[in-house]
């Protein structure tokens, strides 16, 4: 075996190890009942009261998605500390279809409008209705809880519920999006349990 062959073999091994090592990073995750876990690479921490699947492929730079039955049927999204000037979700077409950004002056009462404009722009939909918005404690501080309904690009009517709070100018939010028929009501209790367990560490 010459030196070149050994070097090539070593390189191949290193490359394989690197590839194998990266596999868990791109796979879906599993969040076990009772174990506190930080979400969206942020201080936002939740303790699930049942097992959840964590979806790989973050919907946004500071967002993380969980599901029970698959993202089409129910999706919980955590937004961890969105700063002024940042969008909620990843911008697929930054030039042609930029998403709305959080602004420094934004009031808690306007957070539903931010989520609404983000969904409308991202999915090119027109049907979105805010059903309810009321004050509710979230992360141990004054927050907002709101409910909404929209028809997604797949023409399936969905319902959503969100809890949000502004802490030191950063937006923390959790949302549940699920088909209005059957799935929303089925998953809502598990989502609300997640929200109740949420803290900032």
């Amino acid at each position: 075996m010459t030196m070149t062959t050994i070097r090539n073999a070593t390189l191949a091994l290193v490359a394989t190890a690197a590839l194998l090592g990266s596999v868990p990073a791109i796979a879906h995750g599993y969040r076990e009942q009772g174990k506190a876990v930080a979400v969206a690479a942020s201080p936002l921490t939740v303790t699930p009261n049942r097992d959840w699947n964590q979806l790989s492929g973050k919907p946004g730079k500071k967002a993380e998605a969980w599901t029970l039955d698959g993202e089409q049927l129910d999706q919980v999204t955590f937004y961890g500390g969105i700063a002024p000037g940042e969008p909620l979700l990843r911008e697929h077409d930054k030039k042609g279809k930029p998403l709305p950004k959080l602004t420094r002056e934004m009031l808690l009462a306007e957070v539903p409008e931010l989520l609404e404009a983000t969904y409308r722009t991202d999915r090119a939909i027109a049907s979105f209705t805010l059903l309810d918005a009321r004050p509710e404690r979230f992360l141990g501080t004054d927050g907002i809880r709101f409910a909404y309904e929209y028809v997604d690009g797949d023409e399936l009517p969905r319902r959503g519920e969100a809890h949000a709070a502004l802490v030191k100018g950063l937006l923390y939010m959790a949302t549940l999006d699920a088909p209005r028929l059957h799935y929303f009501d089925q998953v809502a209790p598990a989502y609300r349990a997640l929200v109740e367990s949420a803290t900032l560490r």
Binding site: L99, T103, M106, E113, A117, A126, L130, E155, P157
Partner: protein, 400 residues
Amino acid sequence: MIRRLAALLAALATTPALASTTAPAPLPPPYTAAYQPQGVDEIGLWKEMDEDERVLASSPILIRDEALNAYVRGVLCATVGAARCKAARIYILRTPLFNASMAPNGTMRVFSGLLLRVRSEAELGAVLGHEFGHFEQRHSLAAFKARRSGTDILSWGAVLAGMLPYAQGAYNFQTMQISVYGRLARFSRDQERDADLHGIGYLNGSTLRPQSAAMAWRNVMTEAERAAAARGQAHPRFDRVPYLASHPCDAERAETMAALAIPDGVGRDDGAARYAAALAPWLPQFLDDQIKLNNFGASDYLIGMLGEHGATASLWVARGDLYRARGYPRDLVSAAEFYANAIALDATLPGAQRGLGLSLLKTGRRTEGIEALRRYLQLEPTAPDAAMIGMLIATAGPGQ
């Protein structure tokens, strides 16, 4: 296969360049109603479209308002004539995009974003006539056959290239791929030119002003310019055709449409007043759907265009919402002014009071802001966000 390949190559080589014509578009020929699909390809295509239509008919974003549907159908009939318009079934969808389409089986989809953007019956007729041209010329079938032949050629090319004993084969195959896809895109562009020709032909034969078609495209270009300008982007180019573009460039279309319109038609009515009256009940919602799309330049342009003959209270509210959503400090000051303008015209609009209140709060004018929010809750005590705004009033009091 070889025969089909030769036929396709011959067809591609002789694709007519319709854009070069400058004579007015001919009037449409007599029409045979109740056409039935012929051959396996067309029958199959229609079956698929029939299934799609079944789903479409129960779509949750379908606008079922009888008056609006009857009106849009009336505009199509006025454009293409009573005999032709019987072939179309119109579905108006709440989608905030400038588009319409017509499937081979006669299903016509009209997006609310189109209704928001056109300003007259003639402009709407131009777009609907264009789609009807695709339908009457059975373009979907021709495009399907062209795609199938093209991909057949590529499949055989890949097999043959793989059998060659030298690397040049793969290179030649890549060249062939680029050529076939480029030809398919050009085929699509020529179909669009053909549909434009027919669309203007229908208008020439109608009582509507055919010159309005070019106007609709010029407005679309201006909107794109304003959108880019507001984002600080380079001026968009309307005179270039990318290699794989499915449509001719907008500048070419506007020019061609202007040339295809019969000169005598310029004195005809474009139906702008009737259009405005028919759209009035829906306009605030369509405009709201547009404003929430985070496209400041385009939305601002559309509001300006709608307010050409005097801004209404709901247009002022729309402009206020647009500026408040962008949310620079200067925008908030402007937004407060726009809401105030709306209130001066109509003090009973809850949206104007809410927007005014929030804008004033954010610019430090708390006392006035809270007064406006109180008026909002008086006007709409059951508003979905009444509890949240109530809390805002309680906590954002003076001195806090």
